[in-house]
């Protein structure tokens, strides 16, 4: 396949940024999207031109490092798929593809397609944990946890922290990300103890890191490569209310 790429190039957070056009002349349908970009970069490097910077690492859809908006959709729009798992067989010969970074106030651009997601770290640091000590805990089976609760917690815990939810939200809200952690821990007995404090601290941290609020567009769920459900946002809201009236 032969493709034409329009790629966002921006040299640091203070540069203005622009779309530049590149050819991908010999693309195999079995290649992943990032392998296609690797080839484009190899050709650029051979010519002594600056390569397109993009974050990536595990390339198996779990580390959450890759972060690109492809043709207007975070991760390219294929259901439950990260960019690194998107394969070129989803495209056709002659396609023009627009590739942009996550765009959100809370995610300043480092270079080209790579952004700074420190804001998400701050949310977890505010309370995304149980305050247990290393050692001195009870036996794993001391507290039976119903399969339903365990499965619910696991559904929430699948979040990979990529930030696609933020990038696809008109308000750049990190509510899906925040709610996944709040809900996972709120439903488990070991996390319930601190539930009130946690939800208050995490939502406050999200606000401080310049993430917007949730106004129920649900674009986040559609973009989420792990299929995190917006029901967790409802759970967060309930937890928040409970904490408020306490």
């Amino acid at each position: 396949m032969k493709l034409k790429l329009h790629v966002w190039r921006q040299n640091g957070p203070n540069d203005k940024g622009r779309l530049e056009t590149y050819e991908a002349p010999d693309v195999s349908p079995d290649q992943s999207f990032l392998e296609m970009l690797d080839d484009v970069n190899q050709a650029l490097a051979k010519e002594g031109r600056d390569i397109i910077a993009f974050d990536h690492d595990c390339r198996e859809g779990i580390c959450g490092m890759c972060s690109q908006v492809i043709n207007g959709k975070a991760h390219g729009g294929q259901e439950r798929t990260t960019v690194c798992q998107l394969h070129m067989r989803e495209f056709n010969d002659g396609d023009e593809i627009y590739i942009e970074p996550w765009k959100a106030k809370a995610f300043p651009i480092i270079k080209d397609l790579a952004v700074d997601r420190t804001g998400l770290e701050k949310i977890i640091q505010a309370g995304g944990y149980t305050s247990c000590h290393t050692g001195g805990v009870a036996d794993g089976n001391a507290l039976p946890i119903g399969k339903e609760a365990a499965d619910y917690a696991m559904d929430a815990a699948e979040c990979i922290g990529c930030g696609a939810c933020v990038a696809s939200c008109p308000n750049s809200s990190a509510m899906l990300f925040t709610s996944a952690k709040v809900a996972q821990l709120a439903v488990l007995p070991q996390g319930k103890v601190e539930a009130h404090r946690r939800v208050m601290a995490m939502t406050e941290a999200a606000k401080e890191s310049d993430f917007g609020n949730c106004t129920n567009h649900y674009e986040c769920q559609a973009a989420c490569p792990k299929g995190i459900d917006v029901k967790f946002i409802a759970k967060l809201n309930r937890e928040y209310l409970k904490a408020l009236i306490k």
């Binding site: 640091g12 910077a53 779990i62 394969h87 270079k111």
Partner: protein, 638 residues
């Protein structure tokens, strides 16, 4: 030199407890005076940084990713072992110890493995307390599955994302300490040198990957938890950023590299699809619980659709060769068996480098829904990569480089031969011998981080004066200048080959000559080729861009420079070890039916190599291995 692992003597059952009691402590009020640097934030590094911060030490943690949560431990799928014996099927600390020693082909230290088995149970409890959503049954109790190399069900799991969930647990503990102010995190930093003053580790030199700034950090102790080195093969299941760099920089400052030839080739990976591939994807070993490996009996059938090959014309080679373990034979054995079938021209798929992993009979036995519940995400991943539906046709799999059992040499305290330098997790060599069993990497990472280093590091710190040498010492300045000089050199060659082109060349040599089967001839060929590629690298490399920016070509070039030195030591180790054991298979040393043949008389030792310079013969130091609790035996899974 004969190395001393400083293992406790006496009855093994009480060895760790006695050692803990005998190890010196640091007074709670004094802990905050000590600064500890922790490089790498995977299971080992993340758990260590969190636990040490909680104890009251000042901790600084470093990772090359943009978040500590993204370390490659996150990609582990199948599970984590522990000797809980919840299923009542005969497990015990002794059995986990025995299985791990045997699985490692009798090339690991007994005391280290005993400790690992002993603390395995604490790990599960710890993770549950953190809110890790392990799989549970309807009564609410923890569920177990089986894994290769064991006849009991001792593997705890969280769907097919166990590594992710355990890492997020460690990351949450780490985040809690960041909030508490005991841990300071430095993301997007790559360690490019170990600072050693008068033979003692005193700090590190890093490159800020966003600004290119060269930064110095001092510490009273340095912990490396920087993972493995199988990206030396170019194509592997490791993340793109995994490298030997941190460990190798330490090796260049005097730390010994132990058993580098023990590399694990994982049997169940998705076969390579083409020349432009950047990495290989692993399918969890847990798939072998229900999947059956086979190839056609007849060479002519290899091109046919698998459904058209009748049952009697299929060779379920693992079940045939190893009836008691069957499809759950350990990784080294299952990988070699797959290679044998393909070498015998009975492989399937493109290039005939693949074997089938078939779910047909499992689906008939328990139903598609149950299989979906157990492995749904893995089937989904397989379909994304290959566009094939594994519920309807068998998967095609082939072995790929996955894990390194070898690593920096450490004593029982996880301290290297350089005082003050500790090495944890995959980066050290300690517990897996010549082959790691499935679900044991997660166990080791967390054991080292949560339950070993918090005790053993105190024994060292109790003997040093806190903050004695800081980053104003001349060695820090010299280290930063050396790092900068190498970067300038990489940028100035201005040749015509990119880092990834040269890395592919190295990878091809390593895979062909130092991969699943090695011979004197192939290793000598590799030892001739590696220096040639290294020369090519230093004469024809092209790195675009500058140091003062986010420059991924520069990062790759620096990592490759280290692989090109390290690869030679790996091949030398493989050449010197005239035996087959675990992941190290020398074609000269095999039984009549193609099984690995150990030579306990001459090679029952750890080979620790001291680097003497690129192209210079490294010096071999030996640590003899003693087996007092397990009888050395031929490893049989028949």
């Amino acid at each position: 030199m004969i190395l001393d692992g400083k293992c406790p003597t006496g009855p093994i059952e009480t060895s760790w407890d006695r050692h803990r009691f005998e190890t010196k402590l640091v007074n709670p009020a004094n802990k905050r005076k000590f600064k500890i640097l922790c490089v790498g934030t995977g299971l080992a590094g993340g758990a260590a940084a969190a636990s040490l911060g909680e104890l009251g030490y000042q901790v600084e943690a470093f990772c090359y990713q943009d978040s500590a949560r993204r370390a490659h431990s996150i990609a582990a799928q199948g599970g984590i072992n522990a000797a809980k014996n919840y299923p009542n099927d005969g497990d015990s600390i002794y059995r986990l110890f025995y299985d791990t020693i045997k699985g490692g082909d009798f090339r690991a230290r007994e005391a280290d493995v005993w400790r690992l088995a002993q603390v395995s149970n604490n790990i599960i409890d710890q993770c549950v307390a953190q809110g890790v959503p392990f799989a549970r049954d309807y009564a609410g109790y923890l569920d177990n599955r089986s894994f290769g190399g064991a006849q009991v069900s001792r593997t705890f799991y969280a769907r097919g994302q166990t590594g992710q969930q355990l890492l997020l647990g460690a990351y949450s503990a780490l985040s809690r300490q960041v909030k508490a102010g005991t841990v300071k995190l430095y993301e997007r930093r790559e360690m490019l040198d170990l600072v050693v003053v008068d033979g003692v580790a005193r700090g590190i030199t890093c490159r800020n990957m966003v600004t290119g700034e060269i930064e110095s950090y001092w510490g009273d102790a340095v912990i490396l938890a920087t993972g493995g080195y199988v990206n030396v093969f170019y194509l592997s299941t490791n993340a793109m950023g995994c490298s030997v760099t941190a460990a190798w920089k330490a090796a260049k400052k005097g730390a010994y590299m132990a058993n580098p030839c023990y590399t694990q080739i994982h049997p169940t990976c998705i076969p390579q699809h083409g020349e432009h591939q950047s990495k290989l994807t692993l399918m969890s070993e847990s798939l072998r619980n229900d999947g059956r490996c086979w190839v056609p009996k007849k060479v002519d059938d290899c091109e046919k659709a698998p459904g058209d090959i009748p049952e009697e014309d299929r060779d379920y080679y693992l079940e045939r060769k190893y009836p008691s373990f069957g499809n759950l034979a350990p990784r080294d054995i299952a990988s070699r068996a797959a290679k044998e079938q393909c070498d015998d021209n009975r492989g399937v798929g493109p290039g005939k480098r693949g074997v089938y992993l078939d779910y047909q009979s499992a689906i008939e036995r328990v139903g598609e829904d149950t299989i979906r519940e157990r492995y749904g995400n893995l089937f989904e991943m397989y379909e994304k990569i290959t566009a094939e539906n594994a519920y309807q046709q068998p998967m095609r799999i082939y072995p790929a480089p996955h894990y390194s059992m070898g690593g920096l040499w450490v004593d029982y305290n996880c301290m290297s031969n350089v005082p003050g330098l500790f090495v944890l997790g995959e980066a050290n060599f300690s517990v897996h011998g010549a082959n790691r069993l499935g679900a044991s990497a997660l166990m080791q990472g967390l054991a080292d981080g949560y339950f070993v280093i918090p005790y053993t590091i105190a024994g060292y710190l109790a003997t040093v004066k806190p903050g004695e040498i800081k980053d104003d010492h001349a060695e820090f300045k010299k280290s930063a200048e050396d790092v900068k000089a190498q970067i300038d050199q990489l940028l100035s060659i201005d040749g015509n080959k990119t880092p990834s082109e040269l890395h592919r060349e190295l990878g091809k040599v390593m895979w062909e000559d130092v991969g699943m089967a090695r011979s004197k001839e192939s290793l000598e060929h590799a030892l001739q080729r590696i220096p040639e590629i290294r020369d090519d690298f230093w004469n024809n490399l092209k790195v675009v861009g500058s140091n003062e920016e986010y420059n991924q070509e520069l990062e790759n070039a620096g990592r490759l420079a280290d692989f090109l030195e390290f690869a030679e030591v790996l091949a030398k180790d493989a050449l010197h070890r005239e035996e087959s054991c675990g992941g190290h298979f020398r074609t000269e040393h095999q039984t009549e039916d193609g099984e690995a043949m150990r030579n306990d008389e001459d090679y029952c030792y750890v080979a620790a190599w001291e680097f003497k310079g690129a192209g210079v013969e490294p010096e071999l130091h030996k640590e003899p291995l003693k087996f007092e609790n397990v009888k050395l035996a031929v490893r049989s899974y028949k």
